[in-house]
Each structure stands twice: as structure tokens, then as C-alpha cells.
Symmetry: C2
Subunit: 246 residues, 2 copies
DNA sequence: ATGTCTTATTGTAGATTATACACCATCGCA
DNA sequence: TGCGATGGTGTATAATCTACAATAAGACAT
């Protein structure tokens, strides 16, 4: 076999690998959450446990978008959501942390020099059952303000995703409604605006705009068992929305 | 050597290659232009000559941004501009056109299965001397409405770049001023708006906003040798702009 | 010199949208 | 029954957007 293995090693570190990473945002009605995979391993400094974005290398004959949907499904069980590509990350140093290098070699079974990753973002109603496919890949919803230091450059990826969402919602606010459950209160939507844009909005001015939107329809139901006046529920009407804006 | 070459071939088509492509927009005062490289080659159906975006595969240890600057400089001589990443393209079919496959093998000297490319966009004052580095890589400014069918999926890349520019200019119009020469008339800026957004703007309403911008300063000079009343020149004052918006 | 052609330059009125701001209602619970 | 917490609502002012047309300046042809 004459060094065939050595050759393969050389090759696989010479050419960049391409991966996709998914930043999936969810919303509880109060706080913004993000879907992370817990990662356990050992490195020079002993055992560790930390978090990473759901992501993986793409297949040989797979489109980037397809890879993102596949990976998200494989790692979390999530299907039927819109993923949007927002940025690619290719710094040679992004896979140079020793902990990350060891983890990559163990999980991809290959020596890897660098990985260019393509970032995808989704807004999703929180609370879908998350399917855990193995003990190593366990998906969790984490409060965005409490994610600590993630694997690779994933903190940067998350920041960039948030910036993209803010910009993108200017041209089409429909993404916001993906972040809410079927029925929601006005305050929940107001909270969502505040966590995404990072600033308080005026309650009465918000109400004025909210109540003028024809595609927000009011339901009969109200909150129950709350220690204050119960708020009315609303729903987002996609049909009316599409009639107006598509 | 026992099939070592075969192995290399397998490897290089197994792992995706990563390239960058640059969409560089320029503006004459009337029409939007884009920087393209002419490509000559032969394929099954004889000689051909067509155009492609300036782009190339990245080096082993090169950041994506660095690669974009390097490639643009190598192919066109352009330096010192802002390039912004806007989207990545990775469809397996994007490198399957026979003409493109042959061209790739000749220019990269390697059999390549697929290339994931990262798109960069820049707005640049037109008219900088373009440096031609070889007979095969000759850079030209082409009218955006007259670029025909480009190599690979580059027509799609250009479309996406334009959409990105439109969106991006909402949050920061400074990019627009990169597209204009040092001194420009109000009509030139108005034309630029019209070609970028693809619709007529009201002359007087535009003037009202234009003349209220503190960072647009009027010069004494006027147009010369025009067959009508000469228009006044203005310039963009970066210092005033930064004082207000940074 | 005069007229014609082409583009430059400028304002106003009305509609729409954004902002600032405070009080009463309702419900659970002690 | 009263307190604590959140829900729900209007008005006045400022700022911005929209629609719209007549005169000015220079080049050129006669």
C-alpha cells in the first residue's frame, strides 16, 4: 500500500473541508433562546463538557442548503423549518483550539486542517420536542444571554446571526411570526421586538401599530390563571399576509 | 508509487474546494458596471470566449477575506477597497458544465469535483486603471444590463450581490459614495439610486433630501462643455459623515 | 442676435407616519 | 376589600413622505 494512508492524511488536510452550522432561535414569550448541542470529551486538561452549534461537514454531492436541513434534522430531529444562509466563516485559526481539534478527529475520524463553515439561521417556535439521537449529541434550548464560551468560533457565528436577523427583519417581518407560538399576546410580540433589537419600545405606540396590522387577528381566548388582568390572544394570519405582501 | 496519483485524484474530487468570487460594481454616472474577466478556451464545440467573475480557489492557510483581496488584486490590480462577503454558493451542479470543467482542470491543474464559492461584493469608483496580468485574465468593466451568460453560476451570484447591496444600503448609505467619483452632480447620484433600486425617483423630493444632507458639500466648480445648463459639483465629506453616524 | 433645445434648479400643500406621554381596568391573592 | 401586577387605550405635535410645474442657464443652429 506504500504510504497510501499518509497520502490520504496529507490530502484531507490540504483541501479545506466545508461544513454547515445552524443557529436556531426560539422564544419563550420572555427570552430569546438558541439551540445548542452539548459536547463531552477529553483533552490535555482532562474531561470537559461544553456546547456547540448543531453542524457538520457536508456530503460529497450535497447542496449547502440541503446539508443544513439534513444536519439539523440529524442532530435535533427538527424538520420543516426555513433555514437561511447568512455568512461563511473560514479563518484558518477557527479549528486550531486543541480541544476542538481532538473532538473533530474523533467525530469525523479524519485529520483535518481547516474547515470553512457556512452559517444558517432559523427562527422557530420554541417547544417542539427535541429528539436526542445519541448521548454525545444532545440538543438543548439555551438562554441567549447565558451561553458562555462555545466550541470553535461559534460565539462569533451566533453574534453574526443575530445581526443578520435584525437586518433581514427590516425587509420582511414575517420571520418574527415564526418565533411565536400559534397564539400569542401583544406583550409577547413586544418582548420579542425588545430582545431582538435590544431596546425598549413604547407600549402605546407599539399597540397602535400592532392593532393596525390586518394580518394579526384577535382570538376570543384570553390568558388563564395569571395573577393580573388576563391578556387577549392573537394569531398571525399567513393568508392575509400573503395577499398583501406577495 | 502504487497508484499514488490515482489516490490524489480521488481525494481532490472527494473534498470540496473552496473559492472566492468578487462582484465589483462601478458607476459611470449613468449606468452600473461590473468587473469581469474574459476567458478564452476550447471545448467540445470548438473555441469560445466568455466572461467570468474575478475569483479563484483559496490557499491552504488563508482566511476567506484575505483570499478575496488577494484574488481581486492578482486578477485586476485593484487594491485598497472594501470587500464584503454576501453569500456562498455550493450547488454540486455549479461546476458541471463541460466547458467550465475543462477550464477548471486547465487552470487549476487538478481534477475537481465541486467547488464551494464564497461571494464578495465591492462598490468602487469606476475608472481606476485595470492591470492585466496575462492574456488569459483580462479585466473589463461591463454594463450590468449587457453581461449575457457568464461562466459557472455567476449570473446568479451577480443577482444575489445586487440584492445584498440594496438591502445593505438601508442600514448604511456610505457604500453609495464609494461608487461615485470625488466630485459628482446631483443627477449622477440620482441616477445611481435609480439603477440600484430599479425605479425612478422624484426629482424634487430627491433634491430636498439631497440638499439637507450635511455631509454633501457643494463645490464652486460646475460642469463644462455640456450642451445645456451646467450642473454644480458636490463632494462627499467623510469626516462630517463619521461625526454624525459613527 | 435670436430662438430652440436640453437639463438644472427650486417650494408648497396635504397625507402619512413617528413620538411623547398617563390613567383606568381587570384579575389573583393576601 | 384592598393591593400588586399587568392589560388596554387616545391625543397632540413633530417629522417625514408624496405629488406636482414653472423658470434659469448654457450650447447650438440659423
Amino acid at each position: 500500500m506504500c504510504h497510501a494512508n499518509t497520502l490520504i492524511m496529507l490530502e484531507s488536510s490540504l483541501y479545506p473541508h466545508v461544513s454547515v452550522d445552524c443557529v436556531v432561535f426560539g422564544f419563550t414569550g420572555e427570552r430569546l433562546h438558541i439551540l445548542l448541542i452539548s459536547r463531552n470529551g477529553t483533552s490535555e486538561d482532562g474531561c470537559y463538557s461544553d456546547m456547540k452549534l448543531p453542524g457538520s461537514v457536508i456530503y460529497e454531492n450535497e447542496d449547502l442548503d440541503d446539508a443544513a436541513y439534513r444536519v439539523l434534522h440529524e442532530l435535533t430531529g427538527i424538520k420543516n423549518i426555513y433555514l437561511q444562509q447568512f455568512h461563511s466563516f473560514g479563518s484558518p485559526s477557527r479549528t486550531q483550539n486543541p480541544r476542538d481539534k481532538v473532538w473533530l478527529e474523533n467525530s469525523i475520524h479524519m485529520k483535518i486542517g481547516r474547515i470553512v463553515t457556512v452559517g444558517y439561521v432559523a427562527l422557530i417556535k420554541i417547544g417542539q420536542k427535541l429528539q436526542a439521537f445519541s448521548d454525545r449529541y444532545e440538543a438543548h434550548w439555551c438562554d441567549i444571554d447565558d451561553i458562555g464560551t462555545l466550541a470553535f468560533d461559534h460565539n462569533i457565528v451566533v453574534e453574526k446571526a443575530l445581526a443578520y436577523v435584525r437586518l433581514k427583519l427590516i425587509e420582511d417581518p414575517i420571520g418574527l411570526y415564526e418565533l411565536l407560538p400559534k397564539r400569542f399576546t401583544e406583550a409577547e410580540l413586544r418582548n420579542l421586538h425588545e430582545v431582538i433589537y435590544g431596546e425598549k419600545v413604547d407600549i402605546r405606540n407599539f399597540h397602535k401599530k400592532f392593532s393596525s396590522l390586518p394580518y394579526i387577528v384577535s382570538l376570543e381566548e384570553k390568558q388563564q390563571n395569571v395573577a393580573h388582568r388576563a391578556a387577549r390572544y392573537y394569531r398571525f394570519d399567513k393568508i392575509i399576509y400573503n395577499q398583501i405582501y406577495r
